[in-house]
Structure formats: C-alpha cells, structure tokens
C-alpha cells in the first residue's frame, strides 16, 4: 500500500493531479475499511437477510404471499427487474459508447459506472427467477440437453431475455474485468504480502509492456464495439418482453428505443446517486469533478427529453390509432385507478429533470443528488405504470381491477435487491480501484509535460 500521503484538502480540488497523485489517491481508497464501511455493510446485509426471508416465505407458500391479483400477473418483481436492467445500461453507455466516441470525461466515472452495470445486471437477473411460480425449475428456460428431449421455446421473448441478460452479464463483467487488469497490476505493485499475491494472480501478470498495451487497446476497442450494440439490444429485448405481448399499452413498436432511452436515463441518475457519496467518502474531488457531474446531468436531461417524447408519442399514437381499446388503456393510465403512479412517473421523469437546464443546478452536487433520487423513483414507477396499469385494463372488461398494491413481501424483496446491489458495490470499492487509474493517467498530461498541453 502506498505510504501515508498528505491529506487532500477538502473543498475545491487542487489542480491537475500527476501520475503519482493518481496512484496514491486512488489506491488509498482500498485502505482497510473503517467503521463507516462496516456499519454500511451491516445495514446492507440485514436488508439482504430480510429480502431473503421474504423470498423464503414465498418459496415455501407460493407466489400467493405477494399481493398479485389477476389480471395483474406481473407486478413489483418484473418492475424491479426492468428497473435494474435499466440501471445497468448507463454504465455500459459511459464505458463503451462514450469510449467509442472518445469522450475523455468518461474516464473518471466509467469504472464506477461499469461496476454498477455488472452489479445491476446481477441484481436484475435475480428477479425473473424470484417471480417464477416454480423458481426451483428456473433452469428449464435454458435450452440444455436433457432426458426429456425438450428444449426451450426460442419464440418466447422470455427466452430471448435469458440469452440477452446472460450475455449482457458475461460481456459486461468481462469488460469490467479487462479494464481492471492494468489497475490491478498497479495495485499489486503497491501492495505487500498476501494482497500482492492475490492481486498478482488477478492481474494475470500484467506488466504495462508495449506489447500488452498494443493488444489490450485493440481488445478494449472491440469489446466496446461489441458492447454498444449489446447494450442497445438488451433493453430492446427487455422491452420486447412487453412489446411482443398483445396487451394494450405494451404492444407498441416504440418500445425498444423508448426503453433504451429510459434505461440510460435511469442509469445516469443512478450513477450520480452513487458517485456523489463515493466522491465524498473517498475524497476523490480531484478526479470526479463537477465537470463530470455536469456532463452526466446533461445526459440525464437529454434522455429525459427522449423519454418525455416517448410518453407523448405513446399517448398520441393511442389516440391517433383510433383503437378504442388502446385509447381506453391510456385513458385509464392517466386517470384510472393508478393515476397516482402515472403522475409520479411523469413528474419525476419529465418535469423535475427540466431543472437541469439551469447551469447552477447542474453544477450543484447536492441538488443533482436530489434530482437523481427523483429520477430513480420516477423510473421505477415508469415500469410499474407500464406493467401494472396496462395489465389492469386489458381487453376483457370483466377482468379489470385496480386494487393491486405491492405488499410487504414484495417491498421486502425490493429492499433486498437494493441491499444485494449495495453489498457488491461496497465490496467492490474496497477491493478494486473505483476510478480507472490507467485511464485517468492516459487523460492526464504525462510526467514531464504537466505544464504543457493538457491531455485531451
């Protein structure tokens, strides 16, 4: 570990850090955790235990322990599934798409975002299993050779989902880990004892040699290039879980881009939500600068506008289609039994982000943090609205209801999912550099040129 470094002054960051500063400051975040970390971990683990308890009850008695009521066969779990998949997306956007676009500002925030992606997909992946009536047979959706001679139905959007989510998890985890290799090597070189050995293994013996960098950069570029269509496809596939249904309110061609924009929107919101405390606790103000937050805020504003446009389009198309069932569904969405959910969604996703037009707000970290929380809530409700209100008001009027509300079991599992996610994140920030060391260095003027031109 690095020797004790002079503490960073709080408040406004000093000028551009040097290579050495980067190493020192970032590796410092891996220092043995303090009380606060353990307290956080304790909270997170107890929340997770509660979620696990709820799931155990559900496994034992059946999905009946939830408050699901036909025709609302999907509710909190699928809402939360889509929410977490959506969260995952901005991570890949920032790490892969902005990489391809050579947006230099991404380097400071991408590691945390990419980690968020992986953990969000890990969280999301739990929900399709959680919501199954017979979760213990979840493996049947994988087309594996079996004694029955049965395979999976590749025409089912849920099988597409299986492929999309598992590919996404594999590729984004790979992408995260590949990006980590040089940094792990840097940590290894600062570490001693067993840590050095462990990081040595994890770094695969990375030496920063020209050959390694040469192939690494190619690989990284292609991974980014593959991740970009992947990230677009994953949320499209998730949207097709709904759009392939005939449920009015689901069956819309706009769904893929609408969901992707929403996903990035929610993801950016979540990145802000995570980075603000991270920056504060690890004193990374020199690396996570206001500029970065402002860019994220701009991205939020952009995607918020896309999402709002999608809302308007949905209603417009419902009206313009002349399809009375579609119209009724959307009328019900805004003014029916779930009007409150719809208006929470619209307020949080369309109205509140409009504040980001003001530079003052964009550059105020506390305000951004609050707005990001609104975005998170709004995007959860967006999925709730799409799933629950559409199902509550389908073709058959005899089967309409608006009595469904999540109950404590569902909310317990929702809470558990946040804790599960946080647990992984807390572990990550203590074991791996949550800001990309080599990439930040790459963006900085190299030693000897500090007073020359800037990086990019």
């Amino acid at each position: 570990m690095a020797a004790a470094a002079p503490p960073m002054p709080r408040g406004a960051p000093a000028g551009e850090p040097t290579y050495g500063d980067v190493n020192r400051d970032i590796i410092k975040t891996l220092a043995p955790p303090g009380k606060r970390w353990f307290l956080g971990m304790a909270i997170v683990l107890s929340g997770l235990a509660f979620g696990a308890f709820c799931w155990a009850l559900q496994l034992r008695a059946g999905i009946g322990v939830t408050n699901y009521m036909p025709p609302i066969f999907w509710g909190t779990y699928i809402t939360t599934f889509v929410f977490w998949v959506g969260i995952a997306h901005s991570g890949t956007l920032i790490s892969a798409i902005l990489f391809l676009f050579r947006s230099g500002w991404r380097s400071a925030v991408y590691r945390a975002s990419e980690a968020m992606t992986v953990f969000a997909v890990m969280t999301a992946g739990l929900f399709p299993v959680l919501h199954l009536g017979r979760a213990w047979f979840a493996y049947w959706v994988f087309p594996y050779p079996n004694v029955r001679g049965l395979w999976a139905n590749f025409k089912s959007p849920l099988v597409w989902d299986v492929f999309a989510i598992s590919t996404y998890l594999t590729v984004s985890a790979t992408f995260l880990f590949m990006g980590l290799i040089p940094d792990i090597a840097a940590v290894r070189d600062q570490a001693t004892g067993w840590r050095r050995r462990v990081y040595g293994i994890l770094s695969f013996g990375w030496r920063n040699s020209d050959r390694e960098w040469h192939h690494f950069m190619r690989m990284y570029l292609f991974l980014a290039a593959l991740s970009t269509p992947l990230v677009l496809s994953v949320h499209s596939v998730v949207s097709w879980d709904f759009a392939m249904g005939i449920v009015p309110g689901w069956h819309a061609t706009i769904f893929a881009p609408y969901f992707v924009a929403g996903a990035i929107f929610s993801g950016c919101g979540m990145v802000i939500t995570i980075l603000v405390p991270l920056r504060k606790l690890f004193q990374l103000e020199r690396y996570l600068r206001v500029r970065h937050f402002e860019n994220l805020a701009k991205l939020c504003l952009l995607t918020s506008m896309i999402v709002s446009y999608a809302y308007i389009t949905e209603y417009f198309v419902a009206w313009y289609s002349g399809n009375p069932i579609e119209r009724a569904s959307f009328y019900n969405r805004a003014f029916g039994g779930y009007w409150w959910a719809s208006w929470i969604m619209i307020t949080c996703n369309a109205f509140v982000p409009q504040l980001l037009w003001f530079k003052k707000i964009r550059t105020s970290i506390p305000t951004l943090f609050v707005i990001s929380l609104f975005i998170n809530i709004g995007m959860w409700f967006e999925r709730f609205v799409i799933i629950v209100t559409s199902l509550s008001h389908e073709f058959e009027p005899w089967q309409w209801t608006s009595a469904y509300r999540p109950n404590w079991i569902e909310l317990g599992i929702l809470l558990g999912s946040f804790c599960w996610f946080s647990m992984w994140f807390l572990l990550f920030v203590k074991f791996f550099p949550s800001v990309a060391i080599s990439e930040v260095k790459e963006a900085l003027p190299p030693p000897g040129r500090e007073h020359g031109r800037g990086g990019h």
Partner: protein, 995 residues
C-alpha cells in the same frame, strides 16, 4: 349391483399429489379380495340415482372410480332433467365428502358430545319411543324434508306404530301460495306441471323458475328450448318483479311493479285480455271473470303498480296472441302477505289465455301436495312448547336454521325430552339434539321418490358409506324391532328391502340400472271453481316505516335455503346476479345508494325494528328504488367450517307470524332501514367492469332484425375497398402459417359453439367444471384478490340502455348480456409463443395444451391472454401439507384421478376436458371403433340445463358444432385480434318491444 366389499387400489386414488416428482415413501398396492364384475380399476362405473339436493328430484348418474364417487351427471333418460343438472346437483359430492360430516353416532352429555354405539342409541330411542307411545297419542314427532315414495310411507307407518301422526315434511320453500291458489281456482291443492317448452310467451310474476322455483333444471331446459332462437322463432319472456334476478336477466323485458302489486298487475293484464277479446273462456266462467276483473282496468292498475297503462295493454295483447303462453308466479322472494292472491291472479290469467291444460297441466298428484305447511310447523312448535312432544326425530331438514328466529323453534325444541337428529352434517338442528345418528348422504342411501306423478325415481348408494353412518330407515327398522313393533313385512330389514319388496331381484336390478320407472301420468281436466271469489284483493301490508325499503329475501341459487352453505363449490360459485361469493350482501339501487350515501363494499346494518343484521352493500341496478334484496342461505351458526359464522340470514329480520292467506311465511314482509356501520368489506365479487365498453364480448341482436333476415350488423364500420384488399392479401400471405395452428384435416379439431340465446347464466357449468377438473376452492380472501380458479365463468354485462360507458343502468330498460367465458382454444393463441418452456402449445387436435408439470410459472401466458381465462396457482392448493390445501379430509376423495392436481406456481386453464377426449379416443381405439359426434362431451356442455354448449369436431362437416358454427348469429370474441378462437358464440336474440 350389490356393492361388494371393495378395497381401494392405492395410488390410483392418490391423485392428491400434485404435478411434481416421484414420492419417496414406499407405496402399497392393495388388491381386491374377489374380482368384481362391475369394477375394473381405472375404468369408471356409473350408478343411476336421484338427486336430493332440492325437492325437484332430477335423475342422476354417478361416476365412480375404484369405488369412489367422483362426478355427478344428469340421467339422460330421466323425465325431469333429461341428463342435465344444476350447480347444486353437481355439488352433491361435496355433501358426501364434506370433511365436517358427523362420522359416528354421538350423544349429548351436558355440553359435550360423547360417542355412542349404534346399538345403544337404537335402544335408547326404542325405549323413549315406547314410553312416549304409552304416554299417549301424538307424543312423537318426526320431521323430514320433502319425501315421497316408499320410505315416506314407511315413516308414516313407523310413526303410527308409536301412536303418532305428527309427521312433518318440512321445507323452507314449500310453495304454499301456489298450492292454495290452485285449490282456490281449480279445487286442487296441488302444484301443476308447467310446460315451458311449449309456451310461446312466458310471463313470470316473480317466479325464479331458473333458480330455485319448483324444478329449475327442468324449467331451464324447457325455457331454453322455447326462448332460444331457432329458425326465425323464439318465445318472448317478460319478467314482472320488483327485483330482476338471474331469471329476470333472461327476460326480453323487465317490468318492475311496486312490491306487492304483482297480482294486481296480473289481474290488470287479464282484464285487458278480456276487453281486447283475446280471452279463451266463454260462458259462465267468462261472465264471472269479467265481473271480477272489471275493477282492474288498466288505469287503476297502472296507478297501483307504477307500470304504465300502455305496457299493461301491450303485455295483454302479446300474451293473448302468443299461443300457448304461460304465466307463472310464486317465487319465494316475492312471497309477501298476499302471495296467494298473486298466484290466483296468475292462475286466472292462464285460464283466460287458455293455457290451462296446455302449458299448465294438473296431474293426479304432485310431490308438493305432501309437503307440510308452515302452519303445521307452527303447531308443532306450539305442541313442543306445551310439552306435548316427548320424542322428536328430525331427518334431512334443518328447521332450526330455516325458520325465522321468532318462530321459537329452538326454544320449543329444547323442551322435547329426547331429540334425535338423523343428520349427515352437524347442522343447527343437530347441534340442538340429544342424539345425533349420522345419516347416509343421498349418495349413500336407498330410496325412491316421485318427482312427477307416475315417475318413480330410485335413489341408490353409489359407494360404500364414507363414515360409520346408517340410513335413517334402517335405524328406524332396527328401533322398531327393539321396541317390539312391527313396521314392515317379514324379512324386510333394510331400506333396500323395503324398496325391492314384492319384486324379483333381477327386475329390481334392471330398475336400478335405469334409475327408476318413468311413466308420466296423464294430466286431468280441471274446471274453474269459485272459491277465489272470496279473496279481498287487498294489497299486502309491509311492516316497518313507510319510507323504508322493502326487503326481498332471495333464495340463493347455490345455497338454496342454506343447505349448500358448507359446500365450497357453491360458496365460491358467483351468484349469477351480483357475482358475489362467500358473503351476505344487500342489493341497493344505484340511485338509492347515492341517496343513502353508500357504496359497494360498505358495511351496513339492515334493521327491521329491533331486529337487525349486518351485510355488505352491493349497488345493483336490478332492484327497484324502493326495494333492497338479500340472499338467503348464509348466517349459519353451525354446519361446518365453511358455513359457520359466515354472513347473515335475512330470516333473522322476520316476524314469524307474518303469513299470507295460505298460511305461508311471508318472505317479503318488512321494510328495512340501512345504516352505515362505517366499516368496509371488499366485495368478494368476480366482476370487474359490469359494462362491456362496446367491445362486442356478449353480443345480441334484435329479434325483429334477425327474423326479418337482416344479418347481425358488424361491430365496426364497413371496410373501404383498399382496406379490404390489404386485409385479403395479408390473409393470403398468412394462410400457410395460419394453417399451422390447425394441423391437418386427418386430426379432429375440437371446437365449441355456445348459443347465448339459450344460455341462462345459471352457472351449472361452473360447478360441473370444478367437479370434473379438480379445481380448488380458494376462499373469500382470495376471491377478493380475483384469485378464483373457475376455468369457466359467466360474465354478466349491462347493456342496451342510454348512459355513459361506466354507468350502471338506473331504469328498467336495460339488457343483461351473459356469456360463459372459458379458454377459447385459439388456433393462433397469444398465450403459446410467450411460454419459454413449451408448457403452452398447440396440440394436433386443435387444443391449446397446457402441460402443468412443465410450467415454471412465468405467468406471461396469462398476461397475454386477451380473454383472461388462465388461472394461476398462487398457493399450494393441492398439497396436503399446505396451509391452503383445498381438499381437506375426505374432500380429497372427490378428486378426479384422470386430472392432474396442480401444484403451486403453475398455470392452469380449461382444456376442453382433454381427459374425456383422450379417454374416449383410447376407448374407441381399443374397441376398434371411430369416434362419433357426441362421444366426447366436456363437463360444462354435459350439464348445461339449457343445452347452450355444443362440442365436437369441426373437421367433420356434419357434426353439430360445425353446423352451429355456420349460424348467422355466430361470432368470435375479439375477432380483431386474429386469435382464431375455437369457440363460436351465437348472439343472444332479444325480443324487446312489440312482439
């Protein structure tokens, strides 16, 4: 046919274990001791018997597998029901396997029940009877339900042996006004045979003839055959009643007179009929009638009844023109203090229209003649109060529940020295008894009844008794022997011996096989008498404040007089009118509800003076503004886990001395006030929106239009040329794909046609489906969450009135559209492709297969089903260890071993009774035969009293279903979704306005 000692083949009966994996515990196989001729494991045996769930006496066939009865169906040769059965009949099995049955004889000692041996019990009764007989005459009372036939006569003989004639055949719904009216008009205190099938016009003055009135299955069949549209013909049905119940829902027109004035309206119609010159009476009768009816000119009647003059005139005209027509009255709900007058008025109306002898026929006798009157019960109560009864035997009836509390039965009964209940179930009366001698349920009994004069319908046990029970007649025979009395010919030791007495065994066996002797007696001619002239024609009085709401106590379609309350299928059967399950509600007109400030789901206290009960408000457009209605049947204090403490009984509001001229208890006697308690209880209703929002689900067509040859108009605007071309070419390009859902022509394609003009909404199909397909009963709390599992449901929409999309009708001019909704077995099923594991797929014979054991429970199929006919196992209903086990105790014995019991977390739905299809196919293949049309009938179609459901192979152009599909009234629900459903609905035809 003697049931040999059987032993269960283990495992076959173990259908209780759900779709899952093998069990770890070793199973044992117990073979029979002796091979049985009529018992092949795996092959069902059918026993003919008679349904005893109500006094109608329908013939049944009971399917037994490995010695256990698993399904009840109508006996196709039986003259009452012709193979059909109502929901109550279907649920007879749940009485048999009721887990709360009395399992062994027991004796009250203080406040606890002690088991007692049969021998001791019989000795005790014999001693008490002997003592009573020596103490004097008529000191023994024997109360049974409606009985007829051999055992009925035996009971009288038995009672006679102990010097008593206190024999009551007590029924809560005894239709006394009908009997009294027949006596007053025709001199015969009987109930005539009503022939709905030949009536061309039906006027019902509050007779719920499709629900509980006399013989609903028989009438439902007859009504559907005449009111169902066929080849340009159909009868018209007008319901004249202050509350439009399920029967009224089938009416082409609802006329809602002020409560109590139905009789007056009938007289007004009769009067108009006379004046219009359409009367078919002549001579003295005509003059006399004219004199009586003169007072009832349309103007006067209109004022009293609040029915417009023009309507009265029109009804009279239509009623007179349609020949023959039929008017009926005497429904229990409308049995007010002048009920006899209503029945007399209707008799006169029938007489004037010339229906007597045609649609109203008097046979030599009717089982109803022998049913005791309310007055008899009251005198028994008085006698018991005075200590004039030493021994009371109660069998097959529950007066402690069905009599109003004010009748004082409970208190009087307590004064009887020895009270013996021959009861299968621990009902309220049995709870009061000293000795409870568990009786066989009707499915374990011997007996014969005479539902129609000349028809001897046999009752025979269909399986070994479930518990240590004994048939009442057997007990009585043995008691008589112990008391040293001779009550039966020598050699007769059992009820069976009584029945078979004097017949060669082979002859009797043949009779049992057929279910009885069905030689209906010829009708006899009747003449009008003058007895009715004494009636004062005063309108009935109602107790309570003048501004109160008249309370109608309505017999429940499922629970009848309360006897169905411990049967899960009947509790969970949505009431056909309100669609409420499990609860006691009070129906309030929408405008009255607004006035009172109550909403559906509000708890209210319904009070009639001091007496009050609590109920949930159900805002319902089928009652007049000045009327509220409550169902009879709940409010048990005993009777079993499902019945006890559930809801309330409107009978608790009644004064026992409010009677009509026939002496019958007035079920419609009081005005009540509703007061909000402030609490709410979500209605356990299966109704979502009561309006169909122009979605063309339950469609109808006007009779005038279709009879004039106009095809039913399409629901959408005509297509333009270019739209047509686009659709055609799209369809052409899709044809090959579309065929995929149909497979080849060499496979059958199972389809169904449902004629909505026949469907009455009686919900017998729902109960039949529960019985056939092992559908779990989920309970009130789950129904509140819409988690009921009924694979077939009857949707009920209000339509045909001016008002907003979400409004309830407030006038009387609305149509009720009812439609059975079940899996449509779509050829392009939206549910199938979304299943990740192929649990939902299309079978080669056109079914929408659902493989329970493959289902992982994603529930996407249910989301994607536009008809919403997929049901999810939210809990482990099929596992005995589960808290939600739906088949506790002996109830699991009624599980159909041919149908998998579903485990938690899997989706299920209507399969068109695929087990029946596969059984028929296998059977045909083994016999080397081919399936013929009609060889396979799903449970719903089999039981439908209205014969509204036709099932068969649509690839066979000559099958009934293929021909029905081509009917001009045919349509598919949500046709625009291109799901290509396998169910074709035939529009209901409504004959409103001038006919």
């Amino acid at each position: 046919m003697r049931r040999r000692r059987f032993l269960q083949v283990a495992g076959v009966a173990g259908a209780g274990v759900a779709a899952g994996c093998g069990t770890g515990t070793p199973d044992h196989l117990l073979p029979y001791l002796v091979p049985s001729d009529d018992l092949v494991p795996g092959i069902p045996t059918w026993y003919a018997s008679t349904c005893r769930e109500c006094p109608a006496g329908c013939g049944i066939l009971v399917k037994a597998r490995e010695g256990r009865a698993i399904k009840v169906e109508g006996n196709p040769h039986h003259p009452v029901n012709r193979g059909r059965l109502c929901a109550r009949g279907q649920a007879a099995l749940q009485g048999l396997y009721d887990p709360d049955r009395v399992t062994q004889p027991r004796k009250r000692e203080g406040n606890v029940w002690k088991p007692i041996t049969w021998d001791d019990a019989e000795t005790e009764i014999a001693t008490a009877l002997g003592a009573a007989a020596s103490a004097g005459a008529d000191r023994v009372a024997f109360v049974t339900g409606a009985e007829s036939g051999t055992l009925d006569r035996f009971y009288d003989v038995f009672l006679g042996a102990f010097r008593s004639t206190r024999r009551l055949r007590y029924e809560a719904f005894a239709f006394e006004p009908l009997r009294e009216a027949s006596r007053l008009t025709f001199g015969l205190a009987t109930v005539p045979r009503y022939d709905f099938a030949s009536a061309r016009y039906v006027l019902s003055f509050g007779a719920d003839f499709l629900e509980t009135w006399l013989s609903p299955t028989e009438f439902g069949r007859g009504f559907a055959s005449t009111h169902g549209y066929r080849d340009g013909r159909m009868a018209k049905f007008v319901a004249v009643e202050p509350r439009r119940g399920m029967t009224g829902f089938n009416a082409d027109e609802w006329v809602a007179p002020k409560p109590g004035t139905e009789g007056m309206l009938a007289l007004g119609i009769a009067s108009s009929l006379m004046r219009q010159g359409k009367a078919r009476v002549a001579g003295v009768d005509a003059d006399r009638l004219r004199a009586i009816l003169a007072r009832f000119d349309p103007g006067t009647v209109a004022e009293a009844t609040e029915v417009e003059e023009a309507v009265i005139e029109r009804l009279a005209r239509e009623f007179g023109d349609a020949q023959p027509s039929l008017a009926v009255a005497g429904g229990v709900a409308h049995q007010h203090r002048a009920a006899t007058q209503t029945a007399v008025a209707v008799n006169l109306l029938n007489y004037i229209a010339g229906n007597v002898g045609r649609t109203v026929r008097f046979l030599s006798s009717s089982p109803w003649e022998r049913v005791s009157r309310y007055a008899d019960m009251r005198s028994l109560v008085a006698a018991m109060n005075e200590g004039g009864v030493d021994v009371a035997l109660v069998h097959g009836t529950n007066p402690a529940f069905t009599l109003p509390a004010t009748a004082g039965f409970v208190e009087a009964f307590a004064k009887v020295r020895l009270k013996v209940a021959f009861a299968s179930h621990p009902d309220e009366t049995a709870e009061l008894a000293d000795l409870v001698l568990p009786d066989h349920t009707p499915l374990e009994q011997w007996g014969d009844i005479e539902p129609i004069a000349g028809v001897r319908s046999l009752v025979q046990p269909v399986m070994m008794p479930v518990h240590d029970t004994k048939q009442t007649a057997d007990v009585l025979l043995s008691v008589a022997q112990k008391a040293g009395k001779s009550v039966a010919p020598a050699g007769v030791a059992t009820a069976r011996d009584l029945l078979a007495a004097g017949r060669p065994e082979r002859d009797f066996d043949r009779l049992l096989q057929a279910g009885g002797e069905f030689a209906e007696a010829a009708p006899r001619a009747v003449r009008l008498t003058t007895d009715f002239a004494r009636l004062g024609w005063a309108l009935p009085a109602f107790d309570g404040p003048a501004d109160g709401l008249v309370l109608l106590a309505v017999p429940h379609v499922g629970l009848y007089d309360g006897r169905g309350a411990n049967k899960g299928w009947l509790q969970e059967l949505p009431d056909p009118t309100t669609k409420i399950t499990w609860q006691t509600w009070v129906e309030v007109h929408p405008e009255t509800a607004t006035r009172l400030g109550v909403r559906s789901g509000d708890l209210v206290t319904v009070s009639a003076g001091e007496r009050q009960v609590e109920a949930v408000v159900c805002v319902f457009p089928g009652v007049r503004r000045d009327v509220v209605a409550m169902p009879i049947g709940q409010g048990h204090t005993a009777y079993g886990r499902l019945a006890r403490g559930r809801g309330a009984s409107p009978l608790a509001l009644f004064a026992a001395d409010a009677t009509d001229p026939s002496g019958a208890l007035a079920f419609c006697q009081t005005r009540v006030t509703l007061t909000r308690t402030g609490g709410r209880r979500p209605l356990a209703t299966t109704e979502g929106s009561p309006r169909q929002h122009d979605r063309g689900i339950a469609r109808a067509v006007a009779f005038t239009a279709i009879a004039a040859g106009h095809a039913p108009e399409e629901e959408h605007e005509a297509l333009t040329e270019s739209e047509r071309t686009a659709i055609d070419s799209a369809e052409a390009s899709q044809r090959r794909r579309a065929e995929l859902g149909r497979y080849g022509e060499d496979n059958p394609k199972w389809e169904m046609a449902i004629d909505l003009s026949r469907c009455t909404g009686c919900s017998a199909c729902v109960a039949a489906c529960y019985a056939e397909n092992n559908i779990p009963v989920v309970g009130e709390s789950q129904v509140v969450r819409s988690r009921e599992m009924a694979w077939i449901r009857i949707e009920r929409f209000y339509d045909g009135f001016a008002g907003g999309e979400n409004d309830l009708p407030t006038g009387t001019d609305f149509e009720v559209r009812q439609i059975p909704m079940l899996c449509q077995q779509c050829a392009n099923a939206p549910c199938e492709p979304v299943c990740p594991v192929y649990a939902a797929y299309h079978t080669p014979d056109g079914l929408n297969g659902q493989i329970y054991n493959r289902c992982v429970g994603t529930r996407y199929c249910a989301n994607n089903c536009p008809y919403k006919v997929r049901y999810f196992n939210w809990w482990d209903y099929g596992h005995p260890a589960s808290d939600e086990y739906a088949f506790p105790g002996t109830l699991s014995w009624l599980l159909n071993p041919d149908v998998t019991v579903r485990t938690k977390g899997v989706m299920e739905k209507c399969t068109f009774c695929v087990q029946r299809i596969r059984f028929a196919q296998n059977d045909a293949r083994v016999r080397g035969a081919t399936l013929r049309d009609g060889d396979v009938t799903p449970a719903c179609a089999q039981t439908c009293p209205a014969d509204a459901i036709t099932f068969g192979d649509a690839h066979d152009p000559n099958s009934r279903v293929s021909r029905k599909k081509l009917d001009e009234r045919g349509y598919h629900v949500f046709q625009q979704l291109n799901t290509k459903p396998g169910i074709t609905y035939l529009r209901r035809v409504i004959r409103s306005g001038e006919a």
